[in-house]
């Protein structure tokens, strides 16, 4: 049982790749949470996908024991490592809600970037104490004096309050640990001691059912307690409570200010909701904790099992994944081309890619993804407004008065030498400037209003390549705006394939249609008959190509008595064919569906 004044709860926040997970490694190591032999780089990035891509996708909580060498005092530290990619900023806000403090990490060579700003503001708005820390001071390109000034410019204070560390070499880590216990406040229990704990995350374990990650705000939760989940109204027992060290270790109880996990034995994922408040059944709290704003999906795309029989398995997988990824939304959908599937909502394209990959790997599903779309608002002839998340749901021309598209407030930080380049890029993407602020003589912040549809697909890569990687971007929702939009349909062999339809700006429709038709022509193999591929707006054809019928598909060669080899070769080719999707009478390879995701790239 730890005295609350000896607890520190904090998140590490930063722009992507500034070294959060590596810093967490050093803190785990220095506090002995992990034996040297179990240590590996970014140990908290435990998902295969995180390790392969070298990025954090899920926020990860871990408990550390720290004894201050100065005072001999023991502390309990709850650290949450957060993702840096803009798609996952929802994870950051949830993590911050479980903490009193934050370490704002800034790469001493790169300086302040867009998510440095965005995440710093999130922490400050949440009333958290922020410790600014410069990382990677070991790099020859590091310029800590300059970057310290930039940081102070953002969050206030003086440059000497900015710590300097190298998460790689371990330099400055001892000072950082001391600053954590001295500069960050302990949790302050509010209320009257009645149990209230926030469910800030959860995941599904095949053996244990739903595992909830909780932060106890008031009172205490012990193994065996009769509990109530206030939002869902579920009454469930605390089968096990424990802490993550980072291994799950059961404990007798968790008190106010502590972070840990809770298992109730529930297997039905819909009975637990992230953001819910846990209290006692016999002594329920009066009011729920604030919880979270529901994250708002930005991009929608259809997910269909390649094998139609897998629809139910896909539903189950989505239910379980959502438990661990609250930002994912889904809704059953039928496609003429692809059969039964789900229209899913994502925070961005990276999120979409990650969800798809997790479904394929963790749930062994083979999926087809349709062209991503944003959610449009369509004013109908009758005056009512309908939200359209799928191009196929767009009402006919005569039934609609106007289409509005979601807009974003986009903030771009760039060295001043690229100001012109960035402005040009935003112009191409139908952006309108709202403001321009100099952070220093060398760095400028440009704020634009841009249609979401223009920035979700490939914009980030273009920005990076045109500014040689120096510009960074952050965005937030900024209402809707009426625009001149049309739906481009793709017809294969005369039949429209809804999976390839997209709603695009009228001026860009022709280029879009031409590119997609060209890509499809290159990707669809020749078959027994000519396959016309057309792009159309309504009944007007804007682009056309033909995949000519194949004329020769036979191994006309002497193979003597070796019958086996020929059969094996054909068997291999047959396997490739199995991975194709039949659209009408046309076989379409999986890559074709991926091609529509990349039409914007040259």
């Amino acid at each position: 049982m730890t005295d609350t004044s000896r607890i520190r709860n904090f998140s590490i926040i930063a722009h992507i790749d500034h070294g959060k997970s590596t810093l967490a490694d050093r803190l785990l190591e220095r506090t002995g949470a992990i034996a040297a032999r179990d240590m590996r780089e970014q140990v908290l990035d435990s998902m295969d996908l995180e390790r392969e891509r070298g990025i954090t996708i899920k926020a990860q909580a871990v408990r550390l024991h720290y004894t201050s060498p100065a005072s001999g005092q023991e502390y309990l530290l709850n650290l949450i490592d957060t993702p840096g990619h803009v798609d996952f900023s929802y994870e950051v806000s949830r993590s911050l809600a479980a903490c009193e403090g934050a370490i704002l990490l800034v790469d001493a060579a790169q300086g302040v970037e867009a998510q440095t700003l965005a995440n710093a503001y999130l922490a400050i708005e949440g009333g958290l104490e922020v410790i600014p820390v410069l990382n990677k001071v070991d790099l020859p390109a590091a310029d800590p004096d300059r970057v310290a000034l930039e940081v102070v410019g953002v969050i206030g204070g003086t440059p000497d309050e900015v710590l300097r560390v190298s998460a790689k070499t371990g330099e400055g880590i001892d000072e950082l640990l001391e600053a954590i216990v001295h500069r960050l406040p302990p949790p302050a229990p509010a209320g009257d001691g009645t149990l209230r704990a926030l469910v800030f995350d959860s995941h599904y374990d095949v053996y244990r059912g739903v595992v909830c990650y909780i932060r106890v705000t008031d009172g205490r939760v012990s193994t065996g307690d009769p509990l109530r989940f206030m939002a869902t109204g579920e009454d469930l027992p605390a089968d096990e409570v424990g802490v993550l060290t980072p291994k799950a270790v059961p404990v007798a109880s968790l008190g106010a200010g502590e972070v840990g996990y809770l298992i109730t034995g529930v297997k039905e994922v819909e009975r637990i909701k992230v953001g819910d408040t846990v209290t006692r059944r016999d002594r329920p709290a009066k009011e729920m904790l604030p919880g979270y704003r529901e994250p708002k999906p930005m991009v929608f795309s259809g997910l269909f099992p390649t094998d139609g029989d897998e629809f139910e398995r896909l539903r189950e997988a989505l239910e379980r994944l959502r438990l661990n990824d609250a930002a994912l939304t889904y809704q059953a959908e039928t496609s003429r081309a692809l059969g039964f599937g789900f229209r899913c909502g994502f925070l961005g394209l990276l999120h979409m890619e990650i969800v798809r990959e997790r479904l394929e790997r963790e749930y062994d599903l083979e999926l087809v993804t349709t062209a991503p779309s944003v959610a449009f608002r369509v004013k109908l002839a009758g005056g009512s407004v309908r939200e359209v998340r799928s191009p196929q749901d767009l009402p006919e021309q005569i039934d609609r008065i106007e289409i509005s598209e979601p807009m974003m407030r986009v903030m771009i930080l760039t060295p001043t030498e690229y100001t012109g380049t960035v402005m040009e890029l935003l112009q191409e993407h139908r952006g309108v400037m709202s403001s321009m602020n100099y952070l220093s003589k060398e760095r400028i912040e440009l704020v634009y209003r841009v249609p979401l549809a223009e920035i979700v697909f490939g914009f980030f890569d273009q920005l990076k390549s045109r500014t040689r990687g120096y510009a960074s971007l952050d965005y937030e929702v900024d209402g809707y705006a009426v625009a001149d939009l049309v739906r481009v349909d793709i017809l294969l062999n005369g039949l429209p394939v809804d999976a390839f339809s997209a709603i695009v700006h009228k001026e860009k429709a022709e280029v879009y249609g031409r590119r997609l038709v060209d890509r499809l022509r290159a990707l669809i193999p020749r078959q027994l008959f000519d396959i016309p591929i057309q792009a159309a707006i309504g009944s007007r054809i804007i682009a056309r190509e033909t995949v000519k019928a194949k004329r020769k598909d036979v191994l006309a060669k002497c193979y003597g008595g070796d019958v086996t080899r020929k059969r094996k070769l054909l068997e291999k080719q047959k396997e490739g064919k199995k991975r194709m999707k039949m659209l009408g009478s046309v076989e379409v390879p999986q890559e074709a569906f991926i091609a529509v995701l990349r039409v914007d790239e040259d």
């Binding site: 027994l528 020769k552 598909d553 191994l555 006309a556 003597g560 008595g561 070796d562 019958v563 068997e571």
Partner: protein
Amino acid sequence: MRTERPDAPAVVDAYADRVAAYVHIPFCRRLCPYCDFAVQVGGDLDGYVGALLVEIAADDPFARPLDAIYVGGGTPTSLAAVRLGEIVAALAERFGLAPDAEVSIEANPEDLDPGTAGDLREAGFNRISLGVQSLDPAVLRALGRAHDPDQAVAALAACRQAFPTVNADLIFGTPGDAGWESSVRGVLDSGIDHLSVYALTVERGTALSRAVASGAPAPDPDDQADAYLLAQSVAEAAGLVRYETSNYALPGYACAYNLITWAQGEYAAFGNGAHRHRGGVRSWNIRRVDRYVERLQTGASAVSNQEHLVGWDREVERVLLGLRRAAGVATGRAGAALLASPAGERLLAAGVIAADDHRLWVAQPLLGDEVAREVLALAPSEC
């Protein structure tokens, strides 16, 4: 006497019960850039023939004498005619030889003067297959061949003189081949009774495949389709009948050895990399020549691996092989399953396959592999 049409079902189906022996001679004077057969340049020819004789003597005869012998390569004519004669004699002694048996040999044009042709006939061969490939000098150079068109024409004449049955192999679809039609006409004019036309195939690991990977032109499938159809019309006009994807013969001159393999018949095989089909089991010898010889010298078996297809898999194989023939195949379980499948309907509708009450055949041989893949993809069916 020789009137049997090689595209007649009754004719080709009869080969299912006949038996053959294949002998592989792996030696070549040089390696052609497109070739991926089990071959090598030179080597211990005597040692190899010795090993062959050991392997032949140790094998079990069939219930009936051999209906066909095929000595292929490589370049069988790297061996002297007498040595080849010894091999034929050993086979005849161990297996027995039917009085009307076909005894074939493959030969390269640069080896075939009238004297050698006579010697080979003398050694017991009654059918010769000449690797002409082309009568266009540029194509022969592109294919890395050792002979020129004149040598090929002379060799064809020598064969015609000495042998009752002569085949010419041609390769079509070599990039830049402008002389395809005259190559086909040229070999037909020499009086051959059998013609094999093969599409130039880029095999993995060959010099050709490396050249293509670094930018040399690859054979164009549409050009190959044109060349295939051109050869078909020229050959048919000369009275030859297409009886398999790549093979044409005058009535009565089809290759018995090939017909046995396509009818899923049985054959013994000898030499490195040679494939046999005996007792329902397919097996093959190790590919390396030195290892092959070593094994036989030490009394070990040369077999490298085997495959035993039973039940549905064997039925599928029967249909796959049979469909290469113009006469097609008795429908059977796998054929019926194909016709009943959506893929089968699609192929029928497109005119790629055709069927009557008890037979199934490929009507567009250029799309034969499309059919074969669908047969392989069928779910096993009962009865």
